[in-house]
């Protein structure tokens, strides 16, 4: 098949797949959180509650999408789309299998980091444009949190890029054919996972939303479909960070008997479940504790990781 056709097919698979998984996550997350808190989740709508997603979608579509009069209208209306766009763009560089890659970008890793930084804009802009105090506080906290943790996330990938020799995601997956990267680069894996969860502002790093503190954080003033975009965007972020961790540290689509695409799905599912488990179990640290942990613990470890990896790499090359 012509490469253009493969590309278009991969784009469609990536977008449809991620949005479907993100929508299904609405139901899966509630069920998993219920399992870990000795409850039964939603099980009334449809068999085993599976139609809960449909019910939630219908609800979000039909809610009144009211734009408050005190907001900065163009920014207010555009900012939910920003996170949706940046996360979906990041999906384009992830190799779902040896053949299904939407874009063989030679700077895939950098592209993802750039998109993550752009994603911060959506919180910042929506918090400021909302023109009320809770979103403002939420966005102020989120700027500091996301900027710091993106820095560590990027630094932690230095070792991975060093070992595999390129920024191209497919090359990184191929370089893991002997040994998955999470073994030699274990500190980097931990830092990347923590940083990733912070960047998608998910518990325990969800101070921007802070459901019990800031009313609803940066999306307090949003309703209807705009809120739905934030909502699905958050779940898309979960899928994205899981997919990236799998690609960069756990061998992507590598695996014995099963087809590669299935391996990718299984591994991503494991990480999605892990991220939901973190939400079920951990308390939320204060913003100063969060930043102290990031700058005083994660940054030195990330730098040390690059140092040691580089030193060993040079020694081996000699």
């Amino acid at each position: 098949m012509s490469p253009i056709l493969w590309s278009v097919l991969s784009i469609i698979i990536a977008i449809l797949g991620s949005i479907t998984v993100a929508a299904a996550l609405i139901f899966v997350e509630r069920r998993l959180l219920a399992v870990w808190t000795d409850r039964i989740g939603p099980n009334r709508a449809g068999p085993f509650g599976l139609l809960q997603v449909v019910a939630d979608m219908i609800k979000i579509f039909f809610k009144e999408d009211w734009v408050p009069p005190f907001v900065d209208k163009p920014v207010f209306i555009m900012s939910p789309g920003v996170i949706f766009i940046t996360v979906l763009m990041s999906f384009m560089v992830i190799p779902l299998s040896p053949f299904i890659v939407a874009s063989h970008l030679d700077v895939g890793v950098l592209f993802f980091l750039a998109m993550a930084s752009l994603g911060v804009y959506s919180i910042v802009l929506s918090g400021w444009a909302s023109g009320s105090k809770y979103p403002l506080l939420g966005s102020v906290r989120s700027i500091t949190q996301m900027l710091s943790y993106e820095a560590f996330m990027g630094l932690s990938l230095g070792g991975v890029v060093l070992i595999s020799g390129s920024f191209n995601m497919s090359d990184i997956v191929n370089a893991q054919k002997g040994l998955w990267f999470f073994i030699p680069q274990f500190p980097a894996f931990v830092i990347f996972l923590i940083g990733g969860i912070a960047v998608i502002h998910r518990l325990p790093f969800d101070l921007p939303e802070a459901e019990s503190e800031l009313v609803d954080g940066y999306h307090t003033e949003y309703s209807g479909m705009k809120f739905g975009l934030f909502f699905v965007g958050e779940y898309l972020g979960i899928v994205l960070v899981s997919a990236l961790t799998v690609t960069l540290f756990f061998g992507g689509w590598l695996g014995p008997i099963l087809p590669p695409f299935l391996w990718f799905l299984i591994k991503t599912a494991v990480f999605i479940v892990l991220i939901i488990l973190l939400r079920a179990s951990l308390p939320r640290p204060r913003i100063d504790q969060l930043l102290a942990f990031g700058w005083k613990v994660l940054l030195p470890v990330a730098l040390l990781n690059i140092l040691v990896t580089g030193a060993i790499y040079l020694a081996i090359q000699k």
Partner: protein
């Protein structure tokens, strides 16, 4: 750091523990016998209504949801001409049950009383009266106290003293135990 990992592990172990959700309405919750639910008016073991329309329950009710009026039956026994409880106001506190001297009004472990029409929340006596003695079987008020209704004569109850005959009451006519 270790405590965080331990927390995650402990929460993960809950995957294998039973859920504590009671899936109402397929599964009804277990209620104790003293659960303060729907109010009923009971009858004594001989089949007559226990309620003597003394108004103590209406007086004790903190939200004034009980309305009743007394009347005398043909055989002289006092009863409630009408007895109305407004369950939209009732807070199921049980003060009426504590106040009732005849164990007539009782709270039962039934809470499924939802209605669509607000007027249907007002229960009349025919909705409240049941055919049995409710929670206190074997108790007849007129056997312990009360006016003579053909159940016992005055002075023949278990803890009752015989009435004093005022016409023959002279100094020295009472024994030690009668004097109290």
């Amino acid at each position: 750091m270790f405590s965080i990992l331990r927390t995650i592990w402990l929460v993960f172990k809950h995957t294998f523990s039973r859920t504590i959700t009671v899936q109402y309405p397929e599964v009804k919750p277990e209620l104790s016998a003293r659960y303060r639910g729907r109010i009923i008016l009971s009858r004594d073991p001989d089949g007559d209504e226990r309620c003597v329309a003394c108004n103590l329950c209406a007086a004790a009710c903190p939200v004034d949801c009980i309305a009743l009026e007394s009347a005398n039956r043909d055989d002289g026994r006092r009863y409630a001409k009408f007895f109305r409880i407004n369950f939209a106001r009732c807070i199921m506190c049980g003060m009426c049950e504590e106040a009732c001297p005849t164990y007539a009004i009782q709270l039962t472990p039934d809470f499924e009383m939802a209605e669509y029409n607000r007027q249907n929340m007002v229960y009349e006596k025919e909705h409240l009266l049941i055919n049995g003695p409710g929670k206190y079987p074997g108790y007849n008020f007129y056997r312990e106290a009360g006016a003579e209704m053909g159940v016992k004569k005055t002075g023949e109850g278990q803890n009752e003293r015989k009435p004093v005959d005022i016409y023959t009451l002279v100094p020295g006519s009472l024994d030690d135990e009668e004097r109290g």
